[in-house]
Symmetry: D2
Subunit: 241 residues, 4 copies
């Protein structure tokens, strides 16, 4: 069984990962900011770690991810990083240090990654497109990072300018000339829909996730892939066939 | 067969009405700004009209609708008005003059009228709601009149304030504190969706029309109702059971 | 504070009710098939109950609901019944015994109840309609009870026969001549959509619930209403304005 | 300007093509079963054709397409075939005869072709999937050819069996173990939606076309591509990047 050290194992994603991996992987220890009751060894600092593993899986915080990554490299582990917060310079440095595979995954949701890929492809043929995302009112920023990234990917691939369209407050925020609309409603967790319009034709792509359990298949895909890599790769989309 | 005089019979809606009514009503003449080839008598001014009818159906222009309506009342016809542009004072005056039924119908789309009614009811229970409408890029104003009216009806019936939500360009135009989002895309004619969110619960109401033929059932409902009225009524919703 | 006795308080719905009511109601005791650790007194048989309450809220099982209801009536409580399994004869008997309000609620979901009401109204104008429901693969029966009830309400109110349409395995199960389609997919909890089609016009009504917390607002509406009743009423729809 | 001979130019698709190509291509003649008034020369048999062209575009009938194709090859034209009805043997023979490009296009709708491609990709990651298509009641067969082909492409690429799910009339027709549901409603022209479900995750892909004008961009893409080919290719998907 592949051995995993899990950094950030008691956050919401960490807990979902603990549940999701237990059948097929051996989590040999968890690095966490605080001590927790657990069947698995829990360390609160890198110095306490007393075992080795095949893969370091990091879903910790911006404050800790870089130091963790250096530790994992120094101890000859492959590395899957789901935590945010690495600077460009840090990524460059990790890339130069990589001897085993390093996989940085900004978004573990397979449906979100596929949505972005499909949107990028469709934009080649349908330059007219708008995005509507919906999240819970607790999400304070808008539009979502996924919606913005989708807009950028659309903009990067479309080959014609979209039709000139009306302006006004109701017309959304333009992200690289893609109107993006954000709804904030109870009953919604995380959803986005990309609407393409052509001549007498509509193409609509939508995805939603309702808990962090949705990210576990993407984590597993990452763990399976990283041991076959020998360099740094960014994005789950790089693993798609 | 009920006899109809049709004012504005060669606009897009007028043509759809001509097609839609021919089986069940007798259109005895058409008033139009210009002469047209037609099997039905066409008049270009009120003075030319030389027949009578049971109902005057007016889908003409803001410039002509009021004078037309006065003519119809003077000639003892019931009156269905789909044309826009009557001032409040003109409506008040028509109301005072009415001896037969007068029905003013801002929107002949049954699906749109039902959507507004249902949204008004749902808002009593789900104060958190947003509207997304989609039209062709040729539509220059945003949001649509239907979306704005729907927002106002929602606001008039909700009994609790919606949750405070994030602001920003992507968050739409607030119409009576209902966020309204407008998409302008080829392939879309006229569509609107009302999203209600509750605790772990979603209620979504949507309607679209793809041609003015969609308005004919509402026109027929209006013609059937107006002969049973003896006063002025506004809105197809007043005819719903 | 209104005092409640909760029967079936440790099922999934019971737990959601415990959480949802704690701010505004006083749950003075819970009747359950088994003893549970709880801050609230837990009884495992009717004889053990040693307090009184304003309302008996029953979300227990078909095996216990009728005896519970008789107990509540005998002890002068109003009664909200969410448990299934009452026979017609039992309902008739409860109706005859009622001195306080009795509210039997087959479905506490406000969005589901509104969907059914709206569908019933829309069917008067749009006789052509199909239903698609989606649930988790664990749900073994199809179509869902809500979908079937919606179909029956549609059939009861439509005033014209629907267009004759093609047959075949893909065309769904006809429930009172309404085609009903059932999807069974992971990632779906409970969702149904009612598609109405008219001439160049679409009206689409949809609702979903993702946890039993969605039922709490309907429970609260029921508790508020039942104390103002003096007879037996069936269905949350009877409480809508 | 590229010269086109259009076979079947007065069917619905033929008319849409005449309108759609006039700006960018020169249609030098139209082959049709019947004489029509037209600014462009119209021939009613192959022997009457007295001009040459770069591309033969065939949207005629199963009865004529094969003979037409042989004529085009014999006269050194590239060939785009949108007509149905070629047998496997005929395709094989055309393939062997090809000196210029031959492009057989079962579906000119870009949104439909993209939907199928995306569905094939997504099925690798989400084996649990159902299809709902909606067409006008006039369509007598069900499910649609596009839905069936989409199901087959999904089945060909999924790598795990879907979850065992309930059976029953409401559960649709199984096409290669993909449940397919067909709605037949006025107001719908041609629409299909593919629902993928994962753990707490949904991915939904949908497309619709509302007139044959929607097929013109696919026709143009085919005309642009075929002159760069030197052999027989089947499917617009082969031209996607």
């Amino acid at each position: 069984m592949t051995k995993i050290i899990l950094a950030g194992g008691f956050g919401k994603l960490g807990e979902a990962i603990q549940n999701g991996l237990k059948a097929d992987y051996e989590i040999v220890g968890i690095l966490s900011g605080h001590q927790h009751n657990s069947d698995i060894p829990v360390w609160t600092s890198l110095e306490d770690i007393d075992v080795s593993a095949d893969i370091w899986l990091d879903v910790s915080t911006p404050a800790t991810v870089y130091e963790n990554a250096q530790y994992a490299i120094a101890h000859n582990m492959a590395l899957v990083i789901g935590a945010t917060g690495l600077s460009d310079a840090q990524v460059t440095h990790l890339k130069a240090s990589a001897t085993n595979g390093i996989l940085i995954v900004p978004n573990f949701s397979l449906s979100a990654v596929l949505l972005m890929q499909f949107s990028k492809t469709a934009a080649q043929y349908f330059p007219d497109v708008e995005i509507v995302e919906a999240h819970n009112p607790k999400k304070v920023d808008s539009p979502s990072g996924t919606a913005k990234q989708t807009a950028r990917m659309i903009a990067s691939s479309r080959q014609k300018a979209p039709a000139q369209t009306s302006v006004g407050e109701a017309r959304g925020e333009r992200v690289d000339d893609v109107p993006v609309h954000a709804m904030r409603l109870p009953g919604y967790i995380a959803q986005q829909t990309v609407y393409f319009g052509g001549i007498d034709e509509q193409l609509t792509l939508s995805q939603s996730t309702t808990s962090r359990a949705a990210f576990v298949p993407g984590v597993i895909m990452s763990l399976n892939a990283v041991t076959k890599l020998d360099h740094l790769v960014i994005g789950l989309d790089q693993l798609l066939n």
